[in-house]
Symmetry: C2
Subunit: 454 residues, 2 copies
């Protein structure tokens, strides 16, 4: 059996009992984190314009748009929820590949679960298997693939969505291998899209295409069963000397979801240590922004190269500016969605404090590390070294952190969903008879619900 078939068999034959308790719980954390990101992004112009363009092509409106009253057919819902959950750059990160693994899988599965009822346990299992396949494909082509210009979250995410959907549809090994083949030939997304609407489109596209792959395979629309490893297949064409052993080595023993990280702040992950330091110092010492004379940040040179921008012009640029992140954290005592908006980037108090931030490259620093020293008017010098930021694998966000993040994101959108309700459903997902309740709780619309029931 080749790699594609081995993965396909694993997806088709894995049992609930094969899934470690820790992974079942991690799936809930990932899904809650993902759902929060979708709520935070659901009113963005990116979503509005895509919806305006595609709404009139929707088939039967079975599937919810998270945080909104509209429904779409399952394929379009997968696309739109994939877009909304990636917009804020706040979704999870598989650190080894820099993939955002949950978006394509969760967006595809939520849309499908409203169309073909499944239990919460089935949903969790499909999700974990989808993440596993997507990240393993990413491992096989990393680091060359992303460095070459591929948007790895999309190109590899489509395999995750296909695998997860294949599992949820109950496909056999042969059909699942075909689904992976159809995913291989739909894999797309280039990094030139970063920083614009099409960046998030890539992830929605992966979600929808993965779902299509599984739906086609279900009807015995055939494909190759060597889509990943064949000479003219995914890994050879979109990779360079791929590590094919990464596709199957330790399958069922190690779990890629265990290597998944959640962001506490919606900005470049290399800024998180500096933000942690600033938030801690401000909370402990209680100084006001006006008390600050200067801020010195020492970081890894590569991390600084990406985030050295001193005068960001937009919220998007602020997400990759250490000066802005530090200033916003010190002024607000927070680094959430509102701290990376266009408005916040232009705020006079922030602009003033940003000018006082000096950065220094330090080759002894790891990319995720930061030293911050704040000089105050009263002569005090406050210093903090953060080796591992909140949200790193060494210092993961707690369940309470993820709940708190969810509350903030839910509040930032105009969705009328009950955040507590969604959180409760997420933690009890493995006991739900109908997994659709999870997504429906985040897209409440009494009118629509009534009309569908009548």
């Amino acid at each position: 059996m080749n790699e594609t078939q081995t993965l396909a068999r694993f997806v088709a034959e894995s049992r609930w009992g094969d899934l470690p308790q820790a992974m079942r719980h991690e799936a809930k954390r990932a899904l809650l984190n993902w759902m929060g990101c979708a709520l935070g992004g659901c009113r963005d112009d990116t979503v509005e314009r895509a919806l305006t363009a595609l709404n009139e092509f929707s088939g039967p409106r079975t599937s919810s748009l998270i945080g909104r009253h509209e429904k779409l057919d399952a394929l379009h819902a997968a696309l739109l929820n994939g877009i909304s959950s990636n917009i804020l750059d706040f979704d999870d990160t598989h650190l080894r590949t820099v993939m955002h693994p949950s978006v394509p899988v969760a967006a595809a599965l939520c849309a499908l679960a409203e169309y073909r009822p499944v239990t919460g346990a089935q949903f969790i299992q499909a999700f974990v298997l989808g993440i596993e396949v997507g990240c393993r494909v990413g491992n096989a082509v990393s680091p060359w693939h992303y460095a070459h210009g591929w948007h790895i979250s999309a190109t590899c995410g489509v395999f995750g969505a296909a695998a997860g959907a294949a599992r949820l549809l109950g496909l056999n090994t042969q059909q699942t291998a075909w689904a992976l083949g159809i995913a291989a030939t739909q894999a797309s997304g280039v990094r030139e899209m970063m920083g614009g609407m099409s960046k998030s489109y890539n992830l929605g596209h992966a979600a929808r295409n993965g779902l299509i792959a599984a739906l086609l395979a279900e009807r015995n629309f055939t494909s190759t069963v060597c889509g990943l490893e064949a000479p003219a297949g995914f890994a050879q064409v979109l990779g360079n000397k791929p590590h094919l052993d990464e596709l199957t080595s330790g399958l069922g023993v190690t779990w890629e979801l265990a290597a998944n990280a959640y962001k506490p702040y919606p900005c470049g992950i290399v800024l998180h240590a500096a933000i942690d330091a600033c938030l801690q110092l401000r909370a402990e010492s209680g100084f006001a922004p006006g008390d600050v004379v200067s801020v010195a940040v020492r970081m890894n040179p590569l991390a600084l190269e990406i985030t050295g921008r001193e005068t960001p012009a937009s919220g998007l640029e602020g997400k990759l500016s250490v000066a802005h992140a530090v200033a916003a954290a010190l002024v607000y005592g927070a680094a959430g969605v509102v701290q990376f908006t266009d408005a916040c980037v232009r705020e006079p108090a922030i602009v003033e404090l940003r000018r006082k931030v000096a950065t220094q490259a330090d080759t002894t620093c790891d990319k995720a590390e930061a030293h911050v020293e704040i000089a105050l008017k009263d002569g005090r010098r406050l210093a903090r070294h953060i080796a591992h930021a909140t949200g790193s694998l060494e210092k993961p966000m707690t369940d309470a952190d993820i709940e708190q993040k969810f509350h903030e994101l839910a509040a930032s959108s105009r969705s009328e969903c009950d955040a507590w309700d969604v959180i409760e459903i997420a933690w009890s997902l493995d006991r739900l008879n109908n997994a659709a309740k999870f997504v429906q709780a985040a897209a409440p619309d009494p009118t629509m619900t009534l009309s569908l029931r009548s």
Copy 2:
């Protein structure tokens, strides 16, 4: 202005008067040839299974499935007609890139024209511009791109579909550039799919995705305006030292559609010269298959490497077997769709004659050239040398040849369309008030038409 923007401006601003009369006529030839291929493929299992899988997701059923009574929303119709028109490997070939250029463009535009009415002239212009963009993108990344494993008809075809749809929607230069950016990030399709259902899926996928790109751009869903040439854009990521000048050099002066070729036989193009020779000798000398003692074919070594298969097991394999093509042509005096079916490949008379075919590699032969010598029982030896096969640029199919091919394809499907009617509409397309008549003539369904009109 960079390459993407220059192409976008060309697409947005080109006038009807800029289009040479010869290209207007060539567009009709390409469209009639394409429509015939769609009719020939419309009942294939590939179409049936895709339709079964996706039918239930269709939005408002505005757009025809060629040769069938079903309608689908414009996006799904573009996908399905893209699949059906490529299945037989009988569609056109842009010889320089080996792209099948018409499928993605025509499938997208036909689906769109039923959704947003346009005149026949607008349709022709959008089609020619779509072909121009798709083939130029292909030129820019050839020959490395295909050799590396990319299914160029799909990866570059999506740009053609996007450009054509952008033109039909009346997008401005900025929006057209965005559409090309969204096309760039959707470009996909690997050659591992060749020989299976997913091969044709690639082209349908390109048609639908190109259409989506234009529809998104129409609603100002933004993207990069450097999707083709940027360091992490299409040509650099999916190419290797691309020839970016091919994108714009001679734009509006030379036309890629002029370099488009139509196949007289639904099999590998390198077999066409040998088939021509056999058909000519049989027609001239009137021998029976049983009179043949041996057939000697001399061909280019590379062409033989691809088509040297002596005992094909299926119609698909027969399309790449010189022994089969020669035997079928000599037995039937034809080399049409029925000569490359599973049934024909297994026919005793064909199998017997196949054994008498001997091939010889000749380095002095061009890839499109063939020498055939037939020894008959009465001692005669008939020889024919074909330098340029029918359908080559040197010896193009005449309009009458294309009509004849259309008739054969229309008859081979169970469609009830009036072939003469479609042909007449095709030749008068530039004078039609509503271009949708062209596709609707090839998908007649009185019941459906009535219910839509009522």
